[in-house]
């Protein structure tokens, strides 16, 4: 039989049973849609991770003093916390240290959250001093701080990293290209088009912070060494901040904002650096000179983070050892927390990989279920059409042709299911996006889904088709249907 004629017959059978075809292929529709979504979400996740880390130097290492260990867990009230040299997602570590604080072990917020973003410290601002018996820092600084007497007892070795440590590392640690120190805090900000003061993340940074974090400026210039030395009240705004407060970067540039009721001139506005899943990013931050912040905002209650840039990305451990040694000279008993960008990236990529694997496993299950569905329907179809198979055999249809007809039917049903599934994925995509899932559709995902659909249908369609082809003509004809 000519292949074209065979396909024509297959097509006729399919369009004459549209409803049955659709019902048969539902498993495949779901399977194909799942495959497309799995690939799209996996890809989205990957790009998300890539985006989050694109401003990150792989060689960057954050060093912070972890005040939260058992022996010395008291940092001061935690008004400000270690600012990170790296803009990166760190919701998990932040949350962890928050728990530690709630559990009453007190402890500086800096512990476990060495990088950028000290939201939690400021989050406690709602507690008024009056309500809090231990008063003091608690009200202003949030609930991470412990009671005063506790603090006194355990605060004998109160360690705060400072600019001298930066100098030491710069001078004595080998394999380091650059070092900076920074902290973040939350402060009320007013000015521009703001109707009332709002709380923003403030980063106290040095002039080399922008380079080390790969920040680029849309307008103006970044904080300079002179700004820091003279404790100038100037600031650089993240792109989103500039837009929120002034409507645009151009409006923001050269204007004045009020941080904790002191005026700061906007000396520069950053380019949009991309959002980060935890919601903390340079875009949403205001940068001020390190010394200015110490003087006006955080005072001595600062727990900064030192960030070093390793010369060789493959020698992170060596650099950490070097820095540990240098710091040990100054703080013999202290333990510092090191976090390097590379491992963070790897961890994020790995968790994304696991998610993708899970999704793929899910898709595989859906396909197997869909395939079994097709097999069932084809078996029923073979049974229903036993008589027809008998007729075809009686007029000289070969086993091969019957096998092909049923196989092609299975493949065609699956192909239709695959196409509908891809269509369904297009409908699901906006919904997924609405719920904040990053979905990156791709042509290859569509093709893979179609391939899988047809493959599944053909594989599971084979057995019923084979059964049909092997029927003895006279028995097939005699079968009452």
């Amino acid at each position: 039989m000519k292949p074209g004629e065979l396909l024509r017959l297959v097509w006729m059978n399919i369009i004459q049973n549209k409803f049955k075809t659709i019902m048969t292929s539902i498993g495949i529709i779901v399977g194909a849609a799942t495959i497309v979504m799995v690939i799209a979400i996996g890809k989205g996740g990957k790009e998300d991770v890539a985006d989050q880390f694109k401003n990150l130097n792989a060689g960057a290492i954050d060093i912070s003093y972890d005040g939260g260990t058992d022996e010395r867990n008291m940092e001061s009230g935690g008004e400000s916390t270690g600012g990170g040299g790296m803009a990166m997602p760190q919701g998990a570590s932040g949350g962890f240290s928050g728990n530690a604080g709630n559990a009453g072990t007190g402890g500086g917020f800096g512990g476990g959250a060495p990088s950028f973003g000290g939201d939690f410290g400021g989050g406690g601002g709602d507690f008024s001093p009056g309500e809090m018996p231990s008063g003091g820092d608690f009200g202003r600084g949030g609930f991470f701080g412990g009671g005063n007497d506790m603090q006194e007892r355990m605060n004998q070795e109160n360690i705060t990293l400072d600019e001298e440590d930066v100098d030491d590392i710069e001078t004595f640690a080998a394999g380091v290209t650059d070092v900076t120190i920074s902290y973040t805090t939350r402060s009320s900000v007013d000015g521009g088009e703001l109707e009332e003061a709002a709380t923003y993340t403030i980063g106290g940074v040095k002039e080399n912070y922008a380079d080390m974090s790969n920040l680029s400026l849309a307008l103006g210039e970044f904080i300079t060494e002179a700004d820091d030395e003279n404790k100038e009240k100037i600031c650089v705004l993240g792109a989103s901040v500039a837009e929120e407060i002034f409507g645009s970067a151009i409006e923001a540039y050269g204007s004045v904002i009020y941080i904790d009721e002191r005026s700061y001139v906007v000396n520069g506005v950053l380019e949009t650096m991309g959002t980060v899943s935890s919601g903390i990013s340079p875009d949403d931050s205001i940068f001020i000179p390190y010394a200015t912040g110490v003087k006006y905002l955080v005072g001595t209650k600062v727990n900064p983070t030192i960030t070093v840039l390793a010369e060789d990305v493959n020698n992170i451990d060596g650099v950490i050892a070097e820095v540990t040694e240098v710091l040990a000279a100054t703080y013999p008993n202290a333990e510092f927390t090191f976090e390097d960008a590379g491992s963070k990236m790897e961890a994020a990529a790995a968790s994304n990989e696991i998610l993708t694997m899970l999704l793929i496993a899910m898709a595989a299950i859906v396909f197997v279920v869909g395939g079994i569905g097709i097999m069932n329907v084809l078996f029923v179809s073979v049974k229903e059409r036993t008589n027809e198979i008998g007729i075809l055999k009686a007029i000289g249809c070969s086993q091969k042709n019957i096998l092909f007809e049923f196989l092609c039917e299975a493949a065609a049903i699956s192909l239709i299911g695959g196409v509908l599934g891809v269509g369904a994925s297009l409908l699901v995509t906006p919904v997924a996006r609405y719920f904040g899932v990053r979905v990156e559709l791709s042509l290859s995902a569509f093709l893979i889904a179609l391939l899988f659909a047809v493959g599944t249908g053909t594989i599971f369609g084979f057995y019923p088709a084979y059964k049909a082809s092997k029927l003895v003509p006279v028995e097939a004809l005699g079968a009452e249907t």
Binding site: M1, K2, G4, E5, R8, M12, N13, Q16, N387, E388, G390, I391, L392, K393, A394, I395, G396, C397, S398, Q399, N401, V472, P473, V474, L477
Partner: protein, 226 residues
Amino acid sequence: MNIITMQNINKSYRMGNHSLHVLKNVSLTVEKGEYLAILGPSGSGKSTLMNIIGCMDVMDEGTYCLDEVAVEHAKEKELVNIRNRKIGFIFQKYHLIPTYNVLQNIVMPLLMRGMSLNEAREASMETIEMLGLAERINHKPNELSGGQQQRVAIARALVGQPAILLADEPTGALDRNSGKEVLKLFGRLHDMGNTIVMITHDLDVAEHAKRVVRIVDGELFEGKEA
């Protein structure tokens, strides 16, 4: 020249432990151009014999030569070819494919041979017209009367110009008039030179044939008298 030469055909159906001996040492020859009726009561083994003649079923013993092919030695591939080219089978219950229209049903044997739909349509037009089905080619079988459906089945059996037409109770499902039409048609086909073997339990029907053999309880006898 003999189209069919059967010798000592035996066939039993096995059902569980015991077996039913349906055809007992059946021998039969059919010459080219002959119009033969096999007459016998229900359950005598007519259909079993017909299915063996039509290469739809296998015999247990005996030799069968169909148009110079030794069927008992034929492989499945050859059997497919025989069914397609040498035999035109007409069933009591028409056995049309319900999802295909009249034309598609009729051209099926030609498509099996590798013809395209257009070629097959060309090749079957004459037969379709002869059977008065030209107006009906786009109808589905369930839109036709029994007589019309049987004419479609006859057309399907004829289009391939087989060596022999086999008809298993072709009038069995039809009303008297339609049955007469079919028998008249068989007479014409015989006059045109076709070889026809027809099965019936009805002596009146059998008498339309030029030669009658009787089958009784699986045994074959020449002539219409017991």
